[in-house]
Symmetry: C2
Subunit: 459 residues, 2 copies
């Protein structure tokens, strides 16, 4: 009799796991059942802001593979709109509710992949019966916001609460749709995923686009009129609005896992080993936005909900379930984003993170250009490096530029992954031609500056 | 009394060395004399094709620093249009001729930097008294070609001999100026700096632009009429033309060094150690296109004339002369170029080079896109990886794509520099966001494919 794999969550991590397991074990060897609460499988949540802005026509374009493809091509039993309500580890069963037709099913498993993703952080004040307040995490969230923006009476003013990646991207999407947009941030600046000096460049670009930014201003409540949201409440008074989008980040979706006795780590994510096995629970795997992982630079557990990690983690779990050997060995915090005209990239630790992790370090900021200065399209680029002292080991890097900037972070990410020192980095053989780089690539200019800064401290 | 540094050659390597030495030792400690044969210092030879095409207005834009800047800001005695004719190592003197005013000078040195660059490969048939035949190595060459293209009678047909980087770039520049262009290549294809399968993509793009490509066709002579070149002669008959540009590569300019007893290596370049000291000659340094260097993957000496290496080598020599410690530890063969609409990048060894160096290897070619498939501006990209068997160590990589492709080679170059295996590489934490990459970056897609290819051989 075939063994049975149950997957909870049909997005990036879950479907990667299921696909890799199927690739190595056919339907006679392994039955695969997937429960997905929503309406979609395997889609790009990162693409939602571009669907809101109209740059992408979506939502179909955002879907990598639909349920029918998994059913027919991968021989999986994909049950949409089914919410798993309990995991019984003793009987090796899950209980799922059919959200459309009602009723419950119990299904046994030999292997279980828990890939329930994340849930948006929702402060108490956001619990409202007023219409016009949206999270921004799933394709269903995106569809709801689009409907609201297009229905009568059309909203003219928007408030985005929270200045992380999603908040900033949604703020830009809304202003591109012609709304008047205010971004409200409880901390000292939006885009705190990079250091203050770099984030200031981003804030400037946002203001240049017409986005109003209010910082150090926690939202404490909502006002409504006729069942529609009409303002967010702050210590500096209400900010009138026709729509509120919450961009306050997400936390691991672990309610079900916790109830079943899965171990959680200090970040609130599920603890897994490098093969994506849930600690102490044989045959139980977890992957994606619900798990915590190792930060390879700080050595500390972190929760980094990002599609690229979810895919790699799911793939590793699936290969292992399929009888192969694969590991996910941690992250170094690489991220890129596009804000207005700016490209922003980061990897490794920010200054604050480096301090918290106990490093002694220097940091340098180097100005350069994406192309040879004389080549058409040459634009400024700022590269910041953080290096351990006195070893010179690269700890982190940030880039803000106007063109061909963000993905240069990958060069720095691979250097950091390999534990290179800034001195080693000055020797790197990087591609040079006038359309692509000055003769000293911005990465090398920054590395040289870091070497000089370390040497100056030695003297 | 101040010591004295003489620099032969006032371009990238020579002026980097001089500048770094000056940075660490002031004029009272070190006198610096630079002899430069030509009219320009520190310019971007790589920019010449874009000056020919008109994309860059040049030549001033191509000059990083002019002689006057070095004289006034760096306190150097820069003697333009002075050709060094002899090096006397016993007396520690050089002899230089003033090409403008005539006459010779003898100058003593304590330290000598030999940075005479490279000379174009010029076959016997190219020795002609006909006008209209141009090398393409110095700014003076570029100026001469531009004058010829603009003078009456205006040339309408051009033949470029040789399909390396310069040949291909000049062919494109000439067709952009409206000439009818034929590229004649003795080998089986142009752009042989990448493997045949990748080079074919480049040849297709060139043909699409209207460039005629003739391969396996050595040029054997030139025809002339009224003192002007009128055709190149080949085994398949003459190819009529109004201008001929030679793009047959360069070789180290070592005549003077050889006469003085400098040791040359198997590539014909000067042998230097990692501090850029000429072997066995105390106080004598060499850097730039005249030296050979170590290929870190093959372990063999290579001659790679490229501004980025010249700058790094010159900088290392100058720091050492200045009393510091700096090394140039070799190259891995990274190069990028823009051909028509295509971006081309390479690093490490091509298949042929890997075979010659004695590696057993596999290679894979993976198709992907620069951005998320649904994001506007997503274009195809081809990544080829060559990996050692059975270790999986990356040996080389090539990229051809339409947008945001070439500089992705840097990510692979840093992986290769650090000796990563393709299996390690599948874990890399690279930047992901829809405007910049699919959720599996093309680099990761290719690494996964290489892992699969290696595994298939194990079975």
């Amino acid at each position: 009799m075939a063994q049975r794999l149950i997957v909870i969550g049909g997005d990036a991590a879950g479907m990667s796991a299921a696909s890799q397991a199927r690739r190595r074990r056919d339907r006679n060897d392994l039955e695969i059942v997937v429960f997905e609460r929503g309406h979609f499988t395997s889609y790009s949540a990162c693409g939602i802001p571009y669907w809101i802005s109209g740059l992408v026509s979506g939502p179909d374009e955002l879907i990598t593979r639909d349920p029918e493809t998994f059913r027919t091509k991968y021989a999986m039993d994909v049950r949409m709109r089914h919410e798993v309500t309990a995991i019984d580890l003793d009987r090796r069963e899950v209980v799922a509710r059919d959200l459309e037709r009602g009723g419950e099913v119990r299904e046994r498993f030999d292997d279980l992949v828990y890939a329930a993703g994340a849930v948006p952080v929702k402060p108490p004040w956001a619990d409202t019966d007023a219409n016009g307040v949206f999270g921004m995490q799933t394709l269903d969230d995106g569809a709801a916001l689009r409907d609201w923006l297009e229905a009568e009476p059309q909203p003219h003013r928007a408030v985005v609460v929270g200045g992380g990646y999603i908040g900033v991207e949604i703020a830009e999407a809304l202003i591109q749709r012609g709304l008047s947009v205010t971004l409200v941030e409880a901390g000292s600046q939006p885009m705190a995923t990079v250091d203050g000096d770099m984030a200031e460049l981003v804030a400037d670009a946002m203001r240049g686009l017409g986005i109003k930014i209010r910082t150090d201003l926690p939202v404490t409540g909502l006002e409504q009129r006729d069942g529609r949201v009409s303002a967010v409440v702050t210590a500096e008074g209400p900010i009138p609005t026709d729509v509120v989008v919450l961009g306050l980040g997400v936390r691991p979706n672990t309610a079900l896992a916790e109830a079943a006795g899965f171990p959680l780590g200090p970040t609130g994510g599920i603890r897994v080993d490098r093969r994506m096995r849930v600690a102490e629970l044989p045959g139980v795997w977890a992957a994606g936005d619900c798990v915590e992982t190792l930060h390879r630079v700080s050595g500390m557990p972190v929760h980094v909900p990002l599609g690229t990690h979810a895919n790699k983690q799911g793939r590793a779990a699936g290969i292992n379930i399929g009888g192969g050997y694969a590991t996910f060995t941690g992250v170094i915090g690489t991220a890129v984003t596009k804000v207005c005209d700016l490209e922003v990239g980061r990897t490794g630790l920010r200054e604050r993170e480096a301090t918290r992790a106990g490093f002694d370090f220097i940091s340098v900021v180097a100005e350069s250009t994406n192309r040879a200065g004389y080549y058409p399209g040459a634009r400024p680029m700022t590269v910041k490096l953080i290096a351990e002292r006195p070893s010179g080991r690269l700890l982190g890097a940030q880039i803000v530029g106007l063109s061909e900037a963000a993905k240069r972070i990958d060069t720095l990410a691979v250097a950091l992954w390999n534990g290179m020192t800034v001195d080693d980095m000055t020797s790197l053989d990087l591609g040079y031609a006038p359309p692509y780089a000055p003769v000293w690539d911005p990465v090398l200019v920054a590395a040289r500056k870091a070497v000089d800064a370390l040497a100056a401290l030695d003297r």
